[in-house]
Amino acid sequence: MRTHALRYPALILATAIFSLPTFWVLVTSMKKQSEFAGLRLFPEVPQWVNYQLAVTLADFGRFATNSLLLATSYTVIVVVTSALVGYGFARHRGPLRDQLFIVVLAMMMVPNVVLFVPQFVVFAKLELTNTYWPWILWALGASPLLVFLFRQFFASFPRELGDAAEVDGAGPLRVFLQVFVPNAWPAFAAALIFAYTWVWGDYLYPILLLNDANTTLAVKLSTAYADPHGNPLQTVTMAGVVLYVLPLVIIFFLAQRFIIKGVVTTGLRG
């Protein structure tokens, strides 16, 4: 009980400090632009109109659709391919299996930029820049992190699972689809969220590979909100930031358990 009494104020203080920046975004998003630099900490009247402006000024719908399209196509494909590969490593045997798995792990360590530079040159040669094809190709090649996640998950299933179905004459793919996939939905949920969050939040690849018209919300948000003189509109920007983050926060609340389980399963951060 004594430790409790100390722990609680410490927790509240730490959480409060930690949440200050987030809290400030919400406050700023409801100020008038003229109140931004003022002495008052809080807006006199909450300016919900900022949210409306954030949508119209940035052509929010269009770039949100781009983000949605890109993130959804990448996620669906990468989760399927990574699950197949992770399952293969966990439940099937073949020559060089362990060595190949070490290569999967090693690929997680290679700096992404090192791979990206030559990839970029090839994508440009094949005229795949300004399209979503690079993401589709990355997804088809599976993600080492997600392969690792699925492998750990499928390896934790009891040995007998699948044996019975195999004896009944089901092929390997049917065993995977009918026995393993229905039992693996926490891994699928975690993988979906990791992949989706990565594309939705990524700034670097869209700015290097896409153009002003088909780029994502992440890129648009970094430049969209300025008055005609080029001065930044901080209050409207904050409303845009809130709208941009909101889908992820909602997904996070719905699927918290899976994210945390996924992180613990791989021992890695998404």
Binding site: V117, V121, G141, Y203, L221, M238, R269
Partner: protein, 321 residues
């Protein structure tokens, strides 16, 4: 067991089957069929690009001169060692990595220790610590820009309560401080979850036994919890180190003013990968940039190995039974 015997019998009944019908071969084919997406992807998007990046680093490739590109030997590497921008950016990167990794470890471990008890509202606290981890970098950078804004920022307002008339344009005058705080804030959730998992693996009896022997909370932490958590701490340090060495989006996005493809962060936040990015995509020095990135890879590898080696003195794995 019945199934296995049955299967063996079937194989035995056809000893002269052709090679592709043999059980081992079919098993191997099934395995390779399952992993084929990754295997093909690894060759096309991993191995070949790595080889190209290595070749590129020995050429004068600029993104356009593919037809008359030539090998320049180790010139790019020699140039990197003598480039003041490279040395400056590496120095700033080491400052950033050192502060982020150590402060990050303290905050992540602290949050996990505070939450490793049945306190009321534990789920809510955990969520609040985890939340920044799901906030994308673009949004996170905006959040910190506004939080530290000289005019409308909360940070200066709070400091102003203690020190009236306090004015500091943080992202211009103290860009690395903001970058470190932003990064630590954003990554706390991920590390905290890893440490919480590690803490749950420590048997409660050990702590109870120590408490019965009269150990206070500090002694329990120092002599029981931290030593048993050491493998997890090492893992987290390695992952943070590798991630921090490669950081690029955060310094670019924290740059003052409106951003464009050629925007550079303030000199203090001109980190190594920012430098490589600038050389490649703005100055079109692909060969030189590739060399810079290989040097980074080697330095990161060296630091990681040094960390792992030093850990022999402070990480003791439990004997495998």
């Amino acid at each position: 067991m019945v199934g296995t015997a049955h299967a063996l019998e079937r194989t035995a009944a056809r000893p002269r089957s052709t090679w592709w019908r043999r059980r081992g071969t079919r098993r191997a084919l099934t395995f390779y069929a399952f992993i084929s997406p990754w295997l093909i992807g690894f060759v096309a998007l991993g191995a070949i690009p790595l080889l190209l990046a290595l070749l590129m680093s020995f050429t004068n490739y600029d993104g356009l001169n593919l037809d008359y590109v030539r090998f320049v030997g180790a010139d790019n590497y020699a140039r990197a060692v003598n480039d003041p921008d490279t040395l400056h950016s590496m120095q700033r990167t080491l400052v950033f990595v050192g502060s982020t990794v150590t402060l990050g470890l303290v905050v992540q471990l602290g949050a996990a220790l505070l939450l490793d008890a049945p306190v009321p509202g534990r789920g809510l606290f955990r969520t609040l610590f985890y939340l920044p981890y799901v906030v994308p970098v673009v949004a996170g950078a905006w959040i910190w820009k506004i939080f530290t804004d000289p005019n409308g920022g909360l940070l200066n307002a709070l400091i102003g309560l203690v020190k009236p008339e306090f004015a500091m344009n943080w992202i211009v005058e103290q860009p690395t401080t903001v970058l470190v705080l932003f990064t630590v804030w954003a990554l706390t959730g991920g590390g905290m979850v890893v440490f919480l998992a590690g803490l749950q693996g420590i048997p409660a009896e050990l702590k109870e036994a120590a408490q019965i022997d009269g150990a206070g909370p500090v002694s329990v932490l120092r002599f029981i919890t931290l030593p048993l958590l050491a493998p997890v701490i090492l893992f987290q340090l390695v992952v943070s180190l590798i991630g921090a060495m490669q950081i690029i989006q955060q310094p670019l996005l924290l740059a003052p003013g409106l951003l464009g493809p050629g925007t550079l962060p303030p000199r203090d936040n001109y980190l190594y990968v920012v430098h490589a990015y600038h050389e490649i995509f703005v100055n079109q020095r692909f060969g030189y940039g590739a060399a810079l990135l290989w040097i980074l890879f080697l330095i990161t590898l060296g630091l990681t190995l040094a960390l792992v080696r030093s850990s022999r003195r402070w990480v003791h794995y439990e004997e495998a039974q």
